[in-house]
């Protein structure tokens, strides 16, 4: 499934070992361990301030870790200049030199290495050709559109023959339409050149569209590092489930255990769910924190006979509090279903066969196999110190 696995061991593998970064009193990155295989397209995903850009800059060499090692192809590069690491960085604003033509921008690295003018210009033109910008060779950056500037910035970085290309929110400056177009270009160029791409973004859909490996971060720590499909479909923690969207998280305390079922108290509702297969007689116990996720599009909605109807196992009841039309599906928000909000994504033909209205009482059901059990975050361990069952996948 993962194209990177089929190629012979590519260069540009990265490992972060025990990396911490402090800025004065603030800890931007906390004791991170991460392995990225060579030739992989890796996205660092998270909200502002989660530390993803700091990690990128530490790999690039523009920041140094306070503790820990950064290894590229097995060699610790901490302390080395960016140019000595075989990495190249693409900046969020592209930072194309405004006073130089596209050719001279792309040839810049060759100029610093002392390559003579005609030769470096010729090599720059070849690179421009590879990114299909040859006809813009003599233009100045201000004369280019956002997408064109991105290609020049890419060419300028790729000409240094790096093993790793680092991209700092490269698509943020583009408008929606262009963003989708340039996404594909990035992926194609990565496949063509075969180098490791590390792409920082805060947009979930972008990350899963592009990446072989998605690293979801929050507050300086890695929540989950896995393939795009795993991160979306089998999130490891409630945070990842919330951040990626598309999931409902049922979180609460276990109030009772019957054969094969748990009852958890979430908000002021009690919800019965199928217990995971890996549960033992004693763990998780009554009183433990328990979190489980169900995909929003795997939920079936039916009208409830009355508001106080008992839902049964693997179901919640509530009232419709929001209806948003999204084209092929509708986002139905349900309140009073559980502690946090509950959402069902209903296909449009299904919805319009019997349209719901605001305030209608509904029952939302799902199959037991759709349950996905989550790991509690270390910072949110259960009050009584017991650990929670870590069953990733049912």
């Amino acid at each position: 499934m993962n194209p990177a696995d089929q190629r012979p061991a590519a260069r540009g593998s990265i490992e972060l070992a025990g990396v911490t970064k402090r800025f004065g009193e603030t800890i931007a990155v906390r004791n991170i361990d991460l392995k990225i295989p060579g030739g992989c397209y890796c996205c660092l995903l998270g909200p502002s301030g989660c530390g993803k850009t700091t990690i990128l800059r530490m790999i690039a060499g523009h920041e140094s870790p306070t503790e820990g090692a950064v290894l590229i192809d097995g060699e610790n590069v901490v302390g080395k200049l960016p140019v000595e690491r075989g990495t190249a960085m693409m900046f969020q604003s592209y930072a194309l030199f405004p006073h130089l033509s596209c050719t001279d921008n792309v040839a810049f690295n060759l100029k610093t290495r002392g390559v003579e003018k005609t030769e470096r210009r010729a090599r720059a033109r070849d690179m421009l050709d590879r990114v299909r910008m040859k006809s813009f060779a003599d233009r100045l950056p201000a004369q280019l559109s956002g997408g064109q500037q991105q290609r020049i910035a890419l060419a300028r970085s790729l000409i240094t023959n790096p093993r790793v290309l680092l991209l700092d929110e490269p698509l943020s400056a583009l408008d929606e339409f262009l963003r989708l177009q340039m996404r594909g270009e990035l992926r194609n160029i990565q496949a063509e050149f075969g180098i490791t791409f590390i792409h920082v973004t805060h947009t979930q859909m972008e990350a899963i569209a592009l990446a072989d490996m998605v690293v979801v971060m929050d507050q300086g720590q890695i929540e989950q590092a896995a393939s795009a499909r795993d991160v979306y479909d089998r999130p490891r923690t409630g945070y990842v489930a919330h951040f990626m969207g598309g999931q409902n998280v049922l979180a609460g305390t276990i109030t009772s255990r019957q054969s094969g079922n748990f009852t958890i108290a979430s908000g002021n509702k009690k919800i019965d769910i199928t217990a995971p297969r890996s549960a033992t007689a004693s763990s998780p116990a009554v009183g433990d924190q328990f979190e489980v996720a169900v995909r929003r599009d795997r939920v079936r909605l039916t009208r409830a006979p009355s508001q106080a109807a008992d839902a049964g196992v693997n179901a919640v009841t509530g009232r419709v509090s929001g209806i948003e039309y999204q084209g092929t599906w509708l986002k139905i928000s349900i309140e009073d279903a559980c502690g946090e909000g509950f959402v069902a994504n209903v296909p449009d033909d299904q919805f319009f066969a019997d349209p719901l209205k605001m305030g209608d009482p509904v029952i939302a059901r799902w199959d037991a196999d759709e349950l996905h059990y989550l790991v509690a975050r270390p910072g949110r361990a259960a009050a009584n110190g017991s650990t929670v069952v870590a069953a990733a996948g049912s």
């Binding site: 140019v83 960085m89 130089l100 810049f108 201000a142 004369q143 559109s145 240094t160 583009l174 339409f177």
Partner: protein, 286 residues
């Protein structure tokens, strides 16, 4: 910068436009009178009416000692202005770069420069003159006057560089470093070229402020006069429109300097920012 609502202009707009027009007239009117009067006929006097039109007074200006050592003063003023220009640009640019980082004493230097800016020129001239006298060194136009003029131009240069550097995107320097440039290379190949329009502005200030400078230079130029001092000498015994001719000539020099500077800046900015053809974000090549 946002614009106000366009649409029907309020009455105040017209009132203010008229006021502005009057102000511009106020600024340029009297000077224009001088330019016209410099073409006064040979028998004409210092004020209107014009008695014929001629280049007589320009001729008188260039020809001889009766009107003072115009040629010499002019040369000296030009050379001095160029020296001040070069020094001001060099010193202001690197000082501006220094202020990007915080360092001990930064505030002191800053306030020293600002104090130098608002200090009356006469005081500075007196001080420099006395200092040289105490040291037993003769005041010379290319030494003491040069230094005194720098106390006037450098603060301007510094303030301009502040404004320019505050808009300078540090990402350019990081990108250059990422591509392997050394600090020297970053400075020469990236920072300086991007700062170039700002440097032209500093050069303009340096040149014109020096060329027209009077109070500081008066007491520090030693035996030889600069052009403003020649003009001053002529005002105290104004006898002919040759003074006006001098005014026209010297203003012409200033205008040429201004046109060159502003023109260069305009051309550079235009080249670096004009879009070519119809660059729409939806259209991509090939």
């Amino acid at each position: 910068m946002q614009k106000l609502q366009t649409g029907k202009r309020p009455l105040s707009f017209y009132a203010l436009s008229i006021f502005f027009g009057l102000f511009v007239l106020f600024l340029y009117g009297p000077m224009s009178a001088i330019y016209i009067l410099s073409f006064q006929g040979p028998t004409g006097g210092l004020t209107f009416p014009m008695r014929g039109w001629s280049l007589h007074w320009f001729d008188a200006l260039f020809s001889q000692q009766r009107t003072g050592d115009f040629a010499g003063a002019f040369t000296r003023s030009m050379i001095l202005a160029v020296m001040v220009l070069l020094l001001t640009v060099a010193i202001s640019v690197i000082a501006g770069l220094a202020f990007r980082r915080r360092f001990v004493g930064a505030a002191f230097v800053f306030y020293l420069a600002v104090a130098s800016l608002i200090m009356p020129g006469l005081l500075v001239g007196l001080g420099v003159g006395l200092t040289f006298q105490t040291l037993g060194v003769q005041t010379k136009w290319f030494a003491s006057a040069l230094g005194a003029q720098l106390t006037w131009t450098l603060p301007f240069g510094m303030l301009i560089m502040f404004a320019v550097l505050s808009r300078f995107n540090r990402a350019y320097e990081e990108a250059a470093r990422d591509l392997g440039a050394t600090n020297w290379q970053i400075f020469l190949w990236v920072v300086l070229p991007i700062l170039f329009p700002g440097m032209i502005a500093v050069a303009l200030f340096g040149f014109t402020l020096s060329y027209d400078e009077f109070p500081r230079t008066l007491l520090t130029s030693g035996a030889a006069n600069t052009l403003p001092m020649e003009i001053w000498g002529m005002t105290t015994n104004v006898t002919s429109p040759a003074l006006y001719a001098l005014g026209t000539v010297t203003t012409l020099v200033s205008f040429i300097a201004i046109a060159l500077a502003l023109g260069s800046i305009a051309i550079i900015q235009w080249r670096r920012s004009r879009p070519v053809g119809n660059v729409s974000s939806a259209k991509e090549p090939e």
